[in-house]
């Protein structure tokens, strides 16, 4: 725990929760179901450090990114930006927008097709108070920071004239040009060609090391999380199920879900016949009671079906939200791990 405090915490989330009400198909009038898209998630984003959030579709990882960027309002929980708590219901200020930036998944979709690249880069600068002449110079600097040289070659192009890798770099440049402290990247490489993915990952690594950015890297690809991140969080059904500093989580996973995830990664040394077989799953339905992974879990116990496990400390800076480790001490929230339900009531509003 000592090393976690060394880097400065730029953005902290405490017990962040977001529920959505959805209509249950077939019940037009009454039945609305509450989907706990993000449920009691706490994390620390520190300067010069990449935190990876790994999860499948439906794990709530994209909602988490939008909560952190404050383009979605949390149902409960709070955000602390450089030590200052931010009221959940307050309007998102321009200052917050310039401190915390989000890069979206689809590089082709996130550029307006009718505008040239300079519009995409200069608008944020203009909004955040730069003059017209300044903006162009700053936009060029931003393009250089993402290794697009010479910048003039890109500024007057239209998005459709550029490749996916270039557009994703421009997306990152757009986020960078307002000088954020925190960069949230929502699956930045999943839509890119295999051969250019590493380039974007290495770019993020460089920004983190050279400019002391705090980066949240959201992905479904656990191998890339292992490659890039100092901290890895695995999410399942809106909750953090496992967390570790370093690559411990990948090298020695403790939570059955993480184990399943890792066993599923295509790996030539792990033939298909050894594939875990969990049968038909509808990922949108999770257990309402107890551990949410219990219906799919191979090591399920009775307690899992009735009581939700807290996060247990399974190693140094390594926690696992699973009853298998109930003999271990419970982890505290300072480790960016949610406490047991109810205990966090004092910090939530």
């Amino acid at each position: 725990m000592s090393d976690t405090g060394s880097a400065m915490s730029e953005l902290q989330a405490r017990h962040l929760t977001r529920h959505f009400k959805i209509r249950v198909p077939g019940h037009v009038l009454s039945a609305k179901r509450i989907v706990r898209a993000v449920d009691d998630v706490s994390l620390d984003l520190r300067a010069g450090q990449v935190t990876a959030v790994v999860g499948e579709s439906g794990s709530g990882k994209s909602v988490l990114a939008r909560l952190l960027a404050r383009i979605l309002t949390p149902t409960a929980g709070e955000l602390i930006l450089r030590g200052t708590p931010i009221a959940a219901k307050a309007r998102r200020s321009l200052a917050y927008a310039s401190d915390v930036q989000l890069v979206l998944q689809d590089p082709f979709g996130s550029m307006n097709p009718v505008h040239q690249i300079h519009h995409n880069l200069i608008r944020p600068l203009r909004i955040h108070g730069a003059s017209k002449d300044e903006s162009r110079a700053l936009a060029e600097t931003a393009l250089r920071r993402v290794s697009l040289e010479p910048p003039e070659r890109f500024l007057d192009r239209f998005p459709h004239e550029l490749s996916g890798g270039q557009l994703q770099r421009i997306s990152i440049a757009r986020a960078l040009c307002v000088q954020p402290k925190v960069l949230l990247a929502d699956e930045p490489i999943s839509m890119l060609d295999v051969s250019v993915r590493l380039g974007v990952l290495n770019l993020l690594r460089g920004l983190c090391d050279d400019e002391q950015l705090a980066i949240l890297y959201i992905t479904h690809d656990i191998a890339s999380a292992r490659y890039l991140a100092e901290e890895i969080i695995v999410m399942y059904a809106g909750q953090v199920v496992e967390y570790s500093r370093g690559t411990t989580l990948v090298d020695a996973p403790t939570h059955p879900y993480t184990q399943l995830l890792i066993a599923s990664v295509p790996d030539p040394s792990n033939p298909l016949s050894m594939a875990p077989h969990v049968g038909e799953q509808n990922l949108t339905t999770f257990a309402e009671q107890g551990c949410r992974f219990s219906p799919r879990c191979a090591q399920v116990m009775d307690i899992c079906r009735t009581e939700e496990p807290p996060a247990f400390l399974v190693g140094e800076s390594h926690t696992s939200k699973c009853w298998l480790y109930r003999d271990r001490p419970e982890a505290s929230v300072e480790l960016a791990i949610p406490k047991r339900r109810g205990e966090g009531a004092t910090t939530t509003k």
Binding site: R197, N202, A223, Y227, L228, T247, L261, A275
Partner: protein, 384 residues
Amino acid sequence: MSTDALERRAAADVVAGAASPPSGSGMNERILQINDFCVDYGVDEGAVRAVDGVDLHLDRSKVLGVAGESGSGKSTLVYGFTRLLRAPALITGGTAFFNVGPASEGGPDEFIDLVTANEATLRRVRWTQISVVIQSALNALNPVVRVGSLFNQVFKAHRREMSRADRRTRAIELLELVGLNPDRLQRFPHELSGGQRQRVMIALALALDPQLVIMDEPTTALDVVTQREILGELAELRARFGFAMIFITHDLSLLVELADEIVVMYAGRLVERAGARALYDAPRHPYTLGLLNSFPPMHGERQELTGIPGAPPDLSDLPSGCAFHPRCPYAMERCAAERPPLAKLSEEGRYVACWLHVDEVHATVPVELRRAVPTTSAGEGGAT
């Protein structure tokens, strides 16, 4: 089309990499033979060559992996020889002989050229002998048709003799094959998860016992766990029914497990062809090596990987010579001037389109590109 015509045709293309098909009884093992296949988008000045002189062959019950990035022509190739491409695509050359089985009991297998086949022939062959599973099952399945009706439609179109009860029994059987509950027959596609929809697609593709199943990135849109399960099931189904498979993906490591042989495409051409394991353990083409190095590993020390510099080329403005040379760390003068042919290497069943391996005068093969293939796994697919 008779077999000797096919042999003549194939013999002419030996240099281009197509092994001549085995004669006599062994001939029956060949299911697909594609030679010198070209597809353009558009004509004249606006024409872009998306698939350029591809030679391929596939034997019964084998899995051929086609790997490549977007724009490499991997999808165009398979939708091209199945004649499913839409305008402005045009097939501009080549042949695609498909084994439709013996004309009479005990006779030699007949081959038809899909490129010259008329609509009636194609309709007869498609789905009964060649079926396709595409990437986005949500778009492929009609949202207002129940899963059960999808199966009904297929059987009604191709198996008129089946009764209502037969159709239902067979549909349930097929769903169970792909690990789905029979009550899914009553569902609409949007009520199923992505993995379930893709399973329905696979069940539909297998409905008429095809000889060849084409999988176009069937698992790309799915989560890893679901992907793993579906791939595992596919391997089982193939072992059980013995259909041949062409599997298209950008994920090489996935192919290594599943395929017997892998071809790697770049800018519309084959750059390497080898047994799956051999290709993974000892790639010969710099692009293949770069591609393999682009996947961060799950084991071992963390170290910085570089991937491949630059971006995939624009097909309408290809670099001269070898299309990969601007991104290639080993590029020589000759690479910019001349395009390397897909040449046979001295090793069994390996072909590579790279001057490093062909030009003995100017080139020394870098050590990364001449790793020995581990003897235990040479030429074997992981899925068997």
